[in-house]
Symmetry: D2
Subunit: 345 residues, 4 copies
């Protein structure tokens, strides 16, 4: 049984961490902080948790956090960065669900997040927590940068192609669509039901913060420069990301072995499911579950590989992956607390 703290628990990632950890047999949530809601029982804000937690939100208190084995940050960017050194010094391990430690190039980070990074020394030591790529390093990490939602869906879909050098790395396109929970739980007009319901649009088409994160991951996979275009879109639904990926295969003869290549790449991965060739993964097939499902397509004799990849943005795209990372870090069974099937319909 480990003791876990959550910093910034009022958003959708916070409640999702609580939902998942409620059935995790080896974890006790010992505190959840929120400046604005300090004193309010979590079950008053999130009635699905009635009967599951007696916990109330509390002011962030370093002494309490330092008594935890692990602290999750579910905060806006800029918060974890400042609090991490003190926790690190105290030997606490951290999984940061924000973007503070995801980019190795801090100039790029400053450009996209509009501030200077204040703890570059910890940024350097942080491990980018995509278990399908970095499981061994995560085991030993003290500080894990939990990947963004889009980057998770996009990287997992492209990885087998790039790692094997099968496609032109300069011509990658990721057309991604996300449910509205990805925009968080703040009172902004753009995410009102009246604005999002029954409508669909692209956003950030000229540039989105997840683009440099995707590019960094794909560059590593390709062991070289990549050219990637990434356009996110907003779906009139709550949970789920689908990314349709397009890449130009170098040698069309390779089409024949793609399916097997993907299957073998992910055979031992508990949370990546390569569906039969020509399938169409639905976001609902992963709703509430820590899963990525994907499938391959080709149109007639085209040289374009099409990959459709789905996740739940709040689970494999955030809180579920964070728990998966925690499991890995503490030597627990990797699927602990993450075993329930998705909610369908």
């Amino acid at each position: 049984m480990i003791k876990v703290g959550i910093v910034g628990g009022t958003g959708y990632t916070g409640v999702e961490l609580l939902r998942i950890l409620a059935v995790h047999p080896e974890v006790q949530v010992s505190c959840i902080t929120s400046r604005s809601e300090a004193g309010m029982p979590v079950a008053d804000m999130y009635p699905n948790l009635r009967g599951h937690y007696d916990l109330a939100f509390s002011e962030p208190d370093a002494s309490v956090l330092k008594a935890c084995d692990l602290v999750f940050f579910a905060t806006p960017h800029g918060v974890a960065m400042r609090m991490v050194p003190e926790l690190m010094a105290a030997g606490v391990r951290v999984v940061d669900l924000s973007a503070d430690f995801r980019l190795k190039d801090l100039d790029v980070w400053a450009d996209w997040y509009g501030m200077q990074h204040e703890t570059p020394e910890w940024n350097e030591r942080a491990v980018y927590g995509l278990p399908e790529v970095a499981r061994e390093v995560i085991k030993e990490a003290q500080l894990v940068a939990n990947p963004g939602c889009y980057p998770t869906a996009v990287q997992l879909g492209f990885l087998p192609l790039l790692e094997n050098g099968l496609v032109d790395p300069g011509r990658l396109i990721a057309d991604a669509k996300s449910g509205a929970s990805g925009a968080g739980r703040q009172g902004k007009i753009g995410v009102l039901h009246g604005e999002i319901g029954e409508s669909f649009k692209a956003y950030g088409a000229s540039g989105h913060r997840h683009l440099p994160e995707i590019r960094q991951g794909l560059t590593d996979a390709a062991s070289g420069r990549v050219g990637v275009t990434f356009v996110p879109h907003l779906l009139p639904m709550i949970r789920g990301i689908e990314a349709t990926l397009y890449a130009e295969i170098k040698n069309t003869a390779d089409f024949e072995r793609l399916q097997e290549l993907f299957e073998s790449r992910y055979r031992d991965e508990p949370f990546v499911d390569v569906m039969p060739y020509g399938s169409h993964p639905e976001t609902r097939s992963v709703r509430g579950a820590n899963q990525c499902r994907m499938a391959l397509h080709r149109q007639e004799d085209s040289n374009i590989v099409i990959v459709s990849s789905v996740i739940d943005n709040l689970v494999k795209g955030a809180a579920g992956q964070a728990v998966q990372n925690m499991n890995i870090m503490f030597g627990m069974k990797e699927t602990q607390g993450l075993e329930a099937p998705a909610l369908l319909p």
Copy 2:
């Protein structure tokens, strides 16, 4: 570990049983039947189950079913009625999620379901499986009639009022609203997304099959005749029922003790949550969970008691309650397999 069979597993209640049982530690699903889909792996029809079941749908086969400890019927009405005697004779226990054994008055049943009941002797012995009312009898029952979705939400909300004789039993109104999954998974125009999305309407306002079931339960609770008006409505969403109940209190002084009365009535019930007075239960607070949440209201100095009661129609209104009944019948922990919080948002 008990062996369980499911007859008629292709509908939404079927997949929901599978979803719940996937994480139940004391149950093994040994067969799931479907004439139309025999041979198809369940995970092909319901991709959320990929990795959880190797099972395929099979033709109904009496010998296989008779080897089960328990059989769930998730069939249209008229099916369980005919198959039950053979299973009973073999000592198999049954939880029937259809309406075949819910009504004690078989003339009423015949009127509403358009056929004669063929096994009245078993209907007589069937136990109406609302655990909050009949737990002790369910323990010993061989045949349990699992309550309908609306009747569950409506009865639980009215019970404390009627059992204590606090309201006029002749003036009960239940205005209920259900997500579209309650209409099942059949290719009918009325339940197309294009017909249901972004719209709302009453249906069955002149009479619905759940009316006699509700009336029967409330009559028992009131120990006498009741007059109840029940109007169901169709919500543009998938899961969830909310019932707003109206009753005329006999003595307005009783308003003061209503909250405590409700709390004490359900204090030991693991799956009924009486929220603070004046709360507004949301259907999402029970999505995917075997919970009924309810709250009380009064407008100014009115003599009308208002109860708002919510369930997930597929869980506490169907598959979850069926598993709860199974747990009770086999002496397992009643909450086994039903402990995860609802999926919110």
Copy 3:
């Protein structure tokens, strides 16, 4: 051609007024005010209006408004009340879509709206603009209080019963459901897509501002005290209100003539449609249209009359009814600009 001004045009009622007036052949919108968005072209905020208006939001300017023939107020309560005297003095006619002039009893108004009314003399002269009740007075009115959305759906459904004294006026129940656009266009967490989507709940069940407005209208119709319980609910969709109304008929023999009574009451009303007995009006059948559709039901031999009444909350429940009132006030064809069928599907 009349000149029209709109005060407070950034909300959903404001854009709906613009949408409707865009095709009204006898109206020119000469100004639309918004303090917060002054200078922004309306088509930048509402791209559906691109190509229809060159207009930009402007600071409220009394001299411009006083040059209008009619001014619509689409403001929060408390605004119209203060601006009306100056406009009245200038001979401008006003349709106020807010609640400022809806209640004749200003003590009640102060209780529900949390402020003292500042222009009681104008409140006295204001005409409650439900054309089906007050058409003749509206013709001559200088100041029209446009009814609330719920009150429109509820009153129209109850009117024929109460005007004819057929039901017990002390036992009226209105269970009403509204799409989320009724909550307006402000950045509040409660109306985020992530909070409202795929969920349903009652709200204001212990008391809602539309209750006194409904009570006032029904009292007039019944020519005496009424007892009415009103519970609003929030639908996971954008537009539409359905109200299911319950009343106890005094003489069950009257059931036979109810349908004809309703039909004859509304025969000459262009915007009220009494559907065949036993129909289930859908909110989508009035989406975008200035229509109220309703139908009657009875369950078996019950003495409860059930009326289901639907409107689009932004049209017959707000902007459409306001334009209808304008048409009446200025002697235009009452259906002018309001003739297009609803958008279905």
Copy 4:
């Protein structure tokens, strides 16, 4: 005033034609046929039309259709093809909303539609009715093949790029998303609310019938072979298509003049709106309106042109474009009956 007939009016395109034509001042709908629903008043099936039409569905009757000036076909493929010769002989003009006359290469047509074309002589004479490309020919056409929904959104977005030879025609990608009304109004499980709601997926990713239609149109625009990848997706909403288009610019210096090029290409088009550079068109901004809105994007120094293009699949993607074609064919004002703004929110 012209007389119009509609063959196959029970689907969503049929009711949309009726909705639009209800306010068209120069058209009288004299018949609407449906074998399955003959005798049923259209307003019984589509209550939004109550008060607008007295018409009932009728058996297809050649003599009645031949008395029309124009017949719309809103039928499955294979129907118009067989009925057209008789109507042509009678001098009736036809706008076919099905796919029967859209492809010039009838071998390709036979491959995708699974039958041999039976009236190739009429296929040859048919005009592909995209007014932005073929207005002059449409004026004189007796038989117009109304474009598909996806092909409309995709072609309009790519046209200025291809007509001017600015992009590599061999590397076009169209990632398109459609509301569920595009799947029609038939009782199929795949389009149930319970299957589509709150979920998102690609479909037809290995090949969709609109691919050859898109390829044909783009080939014409490029005056040469094109390589286009087209992946459609299913949105959990009713109306609206968004297509995100990707093309590789040959000369990045051309980026500077793209916006102006698009604006000048569509300056005189009443139904194409080029939004400011970097905008994100929303499908709701065209809901119910015969509009295509589009905007351009570029990511940093990439050589990929991104175009986001939206239409309402039932309007500019079907019935609205059909009425636009009718207006052109009969020398009416092209925007007649199509002037109302979109329904937002």
